[in-house]
């Protein structure tokens, strides 16, 4: 990995360096704006760390190849943006169903369709949660700076290995193309988690029998366990079993291994929230404007704070539930879309607080002024809560 020290680094470069620091030695990808710098940095650096880079024919192939490499025992990653992420949805589901650790970086740009290739948006948030068919439990990090792209790419690998699933790093064009100070810590200060390996003999080994943490140990291909891996509903042997009973054994566990470990996975930041009557919820690049908006609004006498989910999924639902019952009158969700996380916030308040939306259609982030204007308008009763 890089020499420890302080660097002036672009977000996408920091992401690639975080991956290398985490032990990523396999990358398959397809060029796409605004994620291509991740591919380019990886190819530049992989000879040195003896990594394998494949430039694939499309994103369908990229994610399938990453899953294959993970089963070969490599820490594997791909990086893309909205159109490519849409193409990956089926195999994202295969990775979740077969409990295959890997990392998918999605640098969000304006959509739908080809949209605004070079400009920021946050329109893929719900796709990371609900984009693949069927019921799944997912982990998605939303970094808001190049430093966090470095740190959370490492964390994404650790979470992927620990809980055996594809983890998404949900960056956006603004964060990924921003150049800022990045501290690279010494190697021995970086926590690295590796997948659990089975301790029993291959004979009679049940490759999908979970431990108490609901995660099964993982034998790689070539370890001698002769594991069968299928996207079909499968039993603890890994064998397909197309029936309701097996479905009920398997799928709830895939969801529960995230839900029941939420205290270990969930991360969020708060800013001036203790006495807040109004909470801005923002993530990724927008959260940077939201912090300034909090200070500006406070100067005008509003008791405003900010909640920033760092894991978008799992979402800090209990925290919102509690805040709504501890004196917060309303939540203002500032996101670069026409309302995605706002629905989650509204659900979590359970009607105990009002929920408002500060939407933006992509192309740029909210200015702090825009957010403050929104707060003032709400105060004047001019903006209905988004559901009215």
């Amino acid at each position: 990995m890089m020499e420890p020290g302080t660097y002036f680094m672009e977000g996408n470069t920091a992401c690639a360096e975080g991956a290398i620091a985490a032990g990523c030695r396999f990358f398959a990808g397809y060029p796409i704006t605004p994620a291509s710098e991740i591919l380019e940095r990886i190819t530049e650096r992989f000879p040195e760390v003896h990594g394998s880079y494949l430039q694939m024919e499309d994103e369908l192939a990229s994610i399938a190849t990453v899953l294959g490499a993970s089963w070969a025992g490599k820490k594997s990653m791909t990086a893309t943006s909205g159109p490519g992420f849409s193409l990956m949805m089926e195999n994202y589901g295969l990775g979740l169903m077969t409990e295959t650790p890997c990392v998918i970086v999605n640098v969000m740009r304006g959509g739908p369709s080809t949209g605004l290739p070079t400009m920021v948006a946050q329109g893929d948030v719900n796709q990371t949660r609900w984009g693949t068919h069927g019921d799944v439990g997912v982990v998605v990090y939303a970094p808001s700076s190049p430093q966090e792209l470095f740190d959370y790419t490492i964390k994404a690998f650790n979470t992927a290995e620990k809980y055996r699933l594809p983890v998404v790093v949900l960056s956006d064009e603004m964060v990924s193309h921003m150049t800022e100070k990045v501290e690279v810590p010494p190697e021995d200060e970086i926590e690295i988690v590796n997948r659990k390996k089975p301790k029993d003999d291959p004979e009679g080994h049940l490759p999908f029998r979970p431990d108490d943490d609901l995660v099964p140990p993982m034998a790689n291909a070539g370890d001698g366990y002769g594991v069968h891996v299928t996207g079909l509903t499968h039993d603890e042997k890994g064998h397909p079993s197309i029936d309701e009973k097996t479905q009920n054994m398997l799928v709830p566990r895939l969801i529960d291994k995230i839900r029941k470990n939420v205290d270990d996975i969930l991360e969020y930041d708060e800013y001036k929230i203790d006495d807040a009557e109004r909470v801005i919820v923002a993530y990724g690049s927008v959260s940077r404007a939201a912090i300034e908006a909090v200070d500006m609004a406070r100067e005008k006498g509003y008791k405003v704070g900010m909640l920033r989910p760092k894991t978008i999924w799992p979402f800090p639902e209990e925290r919102i539930y509690d805040l709504a019952r501890e004196g917060v009158d309303d939540f203002l969700v500032a996101e670069i879309n026409f309302g995605q996380i706002v629905y989650e916030v509204e659900r979590c308040t359970g009607g105990a607080a009002q929920t408002y939306l500060a939407p933006r259609m992509g192309g740029n982030i909210h200015t702090p002024d825009e957010i403050v204007d929104r707060i003032e308008a709400i105060d004047r009763g001019e903006i209905p809560s988004f559901k009215e």
Partner: protein, 304 residues
Amino acid sequence: MSIRKSRDWFSPDYQEQDTDEGVGYGLHPLDEYLREDRIPHIWCPGCGLGVILNAYLRALKDSDIPPEETAVVSGIGCSGRAAGYVDVDSFHVTHGRAIPFATGLKVGNRDLKTTVFSGDGDLFAIGGNHFIHAARRNVDFNVICVNNFNYGMTGGQAGPTTPTDAKTSTTPWGGFEQPFNLPAVAAGAGAVYVARWTTYHVEELIDSLEEALEKDGFCFIEVMSPCPTGYGKKVGLKTGKKTMKHFKENSEKNPDADPSEVALHPEDPDSKIVVGKFVDRDAPTYQDERGKVFGQAREEMGVE
């Protein structure tokens, strides 16, 4: 190619014996390569998949490659179920993506002798793009394409290999698209080994599979296979036996054939199914080439 005179098909364990369920056969000679608790398989009577899987496992056994260094990857469809029956590290992935998955597996661990076992629809319709690119890259694995001329599992729909005049469940009035000539696609895309056999040519198929297992680079073997349930009954080949007879009577071995000229012409009653090994050449594999370039890069950077 030499054809074997005899094979040790019967292990001493393979004998009639009394079981709780009556008199039966205790062990299949390839049981050590099969997940016995997955048997019986799902394939229809008369299907050619059993023959092809048997040939692959026989080739594997003859090759002396240890099962723990072997991996099988399948896509979706009847052929896709093969991965579930072989007792090695085996992967039954999404429709069309067996080849990129196998690419990751093989590049991730080059010690794994990797074979993609899948069908014509999986490999050449939904997965066609991956096929040509894996051949172009010359990634070191084998692709066995079971070509039964239709989508069998979903009920006999037309696919990329269905002869134009065949009436299927999605071409009830006859077809109007040209099918792929698979050896030509493979050779044109850069496969270093290209062969075509039918399920009638078991011995030749085993030999080809053994050669492919031993060869470095992207090897492609098309095996034409009966599908009485999905396809045969619609084109006058109602049973597996009848299809096998059709293969026997209508195929012609021609290893010297140009792959671009081995397309099927069922509209011409005198035309033959040309079978044989059409391409067998040496070329540096993806990993050899990348190793070379990355090695030079390390030299330039002055790192180990």
